[in-house]
């Protein structure tokens, strides 16, 4: 099953490679991994999207906790949570595509953030599956370039990951 794992770690050189190295060394999947510093500059927050059986996910959480730099780990799938990913898509905006792309962008509640002679750049946020759906919905041959950030996740309501 797909799991979103959130973790807080010391904002130190090499911390990211310890996590990435753990996943490759033990053969765990990574669908995406995002990391950035938090409001506390000594801490980084990471979101890892992975897949695995319950046993594998349990091991992943234990192994992450074992890393010395990792302060806290939370499997967001253990409770209600929100997931968001940002995608930038550059699409053809010539001929029929001009209106078509604008329309699809509106339907998916995206924004056109750059307009050039022959292309639009569309900004879209949402769950990973929503972004996938957008890619599915538009004409493949119209896509010039895509870039995605990978998912960020946060618990709903009182579920807070903090030191």
């Amino acid at each position: 099953m797909r799991h979103i794992i959130s973790l807080l770690m010391e904002n130190e050189a090499g911390a990211l490679s310890r996590v990435a190295g753990l996943f490759s060394a033990r053969g765990y999947n990574i669908e995406s991994l995002t990391v950035a510093v938090t409001e506390d500059p000594t801490l980084s927050r990471m979101t890892i999207v992975t897949t695995g059986s319950d046993d594998v996910i349990e091991q992943i959480i234990k192994q992450l906790n074992k890393l010395i730099d990792v302060v806290k780990v939370l499997d967001l799938n253990d409770g209600k949570h929100i997931e968001r990913e940002l995608m930038l898509v550059k699409v053809k905006a010539t001929g029929v595509y001009k209106d078509e792309m604008k329309r699809m962008c509106d339907i998916f509640r995206g924004r056109i953030i750059d307009v050039a002679d022959n292309s639009y750049t569309i900004e879209l946020t949402g769950s990973c599956s929503k972004l996938d759906a957008f890619i599915e919905a538009i004409d493949r041959s119209a896509i010039l370039e895509t870039v995605r950030t990978g998912a960020s996740g946060i618990g709903r309501g009182d579920r807070i990951l903090k030191v």
């Binding site: 770690m9 090499g14 490679s17 046993d55 234990k62 906790n65 074992k66 010395i68 730099d69 030191v163």
Partner: protein
């Protein structure tokens, strides 16, 4: 907190170079021996070392041996082992030693030199990314980038190495900062919000475990290296005695329970005893202590889990629990503390009688197979016989190190360890070449002890250069070479699984080990006749002050039995012809 506010440390505060800080840190940690080898990046540290007389530096002949010796020192004493190597090739030479210690959870601090900070990333002379190279085989590692960070980092390194599930920690120190000046303040304590090992076991779980043990009909206690490292042997013996349960040890756990005690059923696993493996497979309640259900221990995990049993697992590392086998009652905590709690709860229990008479009958029947029996010969030396005689001649009290191969299994099977920290071998990584440096570490740990290194002619040649170190420090080690002129364990697998195609497993052009030993000033002996084995061993151990290299020419065709073949279940052992015939006769 501003550390200068501490008046206690204030009085000690002194300005010094980074190199002097390193030395002072090691002395603050009361380190007795540093095993190392100098080079450009650590020259400042070696100069500072020259001017101190806190710890003693041991100059090895290869950095791999430095780390192995530090590792064995730790295994023998329980203290953190320390090694010091230079950058680049010194650091990469140390990696096998570090990985070996990591796989067996041995606490080490390895200090490596690094090129100066401004040269990092420039492909400078003797630069390697030591932190990157060792990341997957250390508990943690550090690159120190400022002289004022040296002391707090070394403090943390020792703390991390020895607490929780122990392991090696690398501290990589660039040369320039060992010349920079700073005040030396050694922190008194370490506070890490990201690292706080659990020590006390959950009392509810412990009570539950005791109840289960008391209700067991076919109980089994299975202990590993964690019991030895966690110094829980005395508590385990108390528990096992109070319950009268059978006990088995893993290869890493030998000595955790006295081998000569009647409740001990021998080592289990791939080359475990028939009774240990059968009891492990057929028990109804299993207490696992500081062990990890390794693939060499339980055989095929599906076959193992096919038999229903309730498993209680005590381990300091949560990630070891339910990793390969589902556990019913996990107890995370320090083994010594958890076992002590169990003993106490058991003492308060009113009805302590367990009903295990039938189970013991069954175990004794299994024992009747005598799975460690071998056919003695009076023309060719049997390797098992040498180990048995070694045990007798040393009164079972020696530190025994081994290399990796058949000789390692015979050492484990036939030397009966009654005390923990006496059996020193590479269980996890299975590193050929550890034997001699391990023996050095043991001899430094206990100057007057009997230290025997049981090895093969393949393995000993992987760190043979250490004969020189042994000469320099006058180490009276006894090398017991079981010389079968084969990479015996490889040959055995080729015999069993590759139709006797002995591909590259024969050892030709061996040195004359007697002359080789003598060339270093040691005593060399060659023993070819079974009748001479005991006398030669007595003679060698009588030379208390001398290093003796004993080259026993042993039966080339001997195999290790019992054996659980790869992919087979634990109870599906291949027995020696002798024991096998007994089993058939029984059925």
């Amino acid at each position: 907190m501003d550390s200068s506010a501490h008046s206690a440390t204030d009085s000690h505060t002194k300005s010094m170079t980074g190199a002097d800080i390193v030395i002072n840190c090691l002395n603050e940690e009361k380190v007795k021996f540093v095993f190392g080898y100098p080079g450009g990046a650590v020259l400042h540290i070696y100069d500072a070392l020259y001017k101190q007389n806190g710890f003693k530096h041991i100059l090895v002949r290869h950095e791999q041996a430095a780390v192995h010796a530090a590792d064995a020192y730790s295994r023998a004493t329980g203290d953190v082992g320390v090694a010091l190597v230079t950058s680049g090739p010194g650091a990469t030479n140390a990696v096998t030693g570090i990985a070996t210690a990591y796989m067996d959870s041995i606490p080490l601090v390895v200090i490596s030199g690094q090129v100066p900070v401004p040269a990092i990333g420039m492909d400078a002379f003797q630069e390697v990314d030591m932190v990157g190279i060792t990341r997957p085989c250390v508990k943690h590692n550090f690159l120190v980038k400022h002289v004022k960070d040296i002391a707090p980092t070394i403090k943390k390194a020792f703390f991390i190495a020895k607490t929780g599930r122990p392991g090696p920690v690398v501290v990589d120190i660039p040369k320039d900062i060992t010349a920079h000046i700073a005040d030396f303040i050694y922190p008194k304590t370490v506070e890490m919000r990201s690292y706080s090992p659990i020590l006390k076991g959950h009392s509810g779980q412990i009570k539950k475990a005791v109840k289960l043990l008391l209700g067991a009909k076919r109980p089994m206690i299975y202990t590993g290296g964690g019991l030895v490292l966690g110094n829980g042997s005395a508590e385990l013996v108390r528990l096992a005695k109070a319950l009268n349960f059978p006990v088995t040890n893993t290869l890493m756990g030998l000595g955790g329970y006295p081998a000569t005690d009647k409740q001990f059923v021998g080592m289990l696993g791939m080359h475990g005893s028939y009774e240990a493996n059968m009891a492990m497979q057929h028990c109804d309640v299993l207490l696992a202590v500081g062990a990890r259900f390794d693939d060499r221990v339980i055989g095929n995990p599906k076959h193992f889990s096919g038999q229903k049993r309730t498993i209680i697992h005590i381990d300091v590392d949560p990630s070891s629990i339910s990793k390969r086998v589902k556990v019913d009652v996990p107890i995370v905590g320090d083994v010594q503390s958890v076992l002590a709690d169990m003993v106490e709860i058991l003492a308060q229990e009113e009805n302590k009688t367990t009903d295990t008479a039938d189970w013991w009958d069954q175990i004794n029947e299994w024992r009747g197979v005598q799975s460690l029996d071998y056919t003695y010969s009076d023309t060719v030396i049997k390797p098992q016989y040498v180990v048995q005689k070694l045990w007798e001649v040393t009164n079972g009290e020696a530190y025994v190190t081994s290399d990796v191969g058949q000789h390692q299994m015979w050492a484990a099977q036939y030397y009966k360890f009654d005390k923990p920290r006496r059996w020193i071998n590479s269980g996890g990584l299975g590193t050929m070449g550890v034997g001699l440096p391990y023996a050095m570490g043991c001899q430094f740990a206990d100057k007057h002890a009997q230290v025997a290194c049981i090895t093969g002619e393949g393995s000993i040649q992987m760190n043979i250069q250490e004969l020189s170190t042994c000469a320099q420090y006058g180490l009276p080690i006894k090398v017991i070479l079981l010389n079968n002129r084969y990479l015996g364990m490889v040959r055995q697998w080729q015999e069993f699984f590759y139709e006797n195609r002995y591909s590259e497993s024969y050892m030709d052009s061996l040195p004359d080990f007697v002359k080789l030993a003598e060339s270093y000033g040691h005593i060399g002996m060659q023993i070819t006749n079974p009748a001479d084995v005991e006398g030669a061993l007595k003679e060698a151990f009588a030379r208390k002050d001398k290093f003796v290299f004993m080259d026993f020419l042993t039966d080339q065709a001997e195999n290790v039995f019992p054996m659980v073949e790869n992919g087979k279940g634990l109870s599906e052992m291949v027995l020696s012809p002798l024991s096998g015939s007994r089993l058939k006769g029984e059925q």
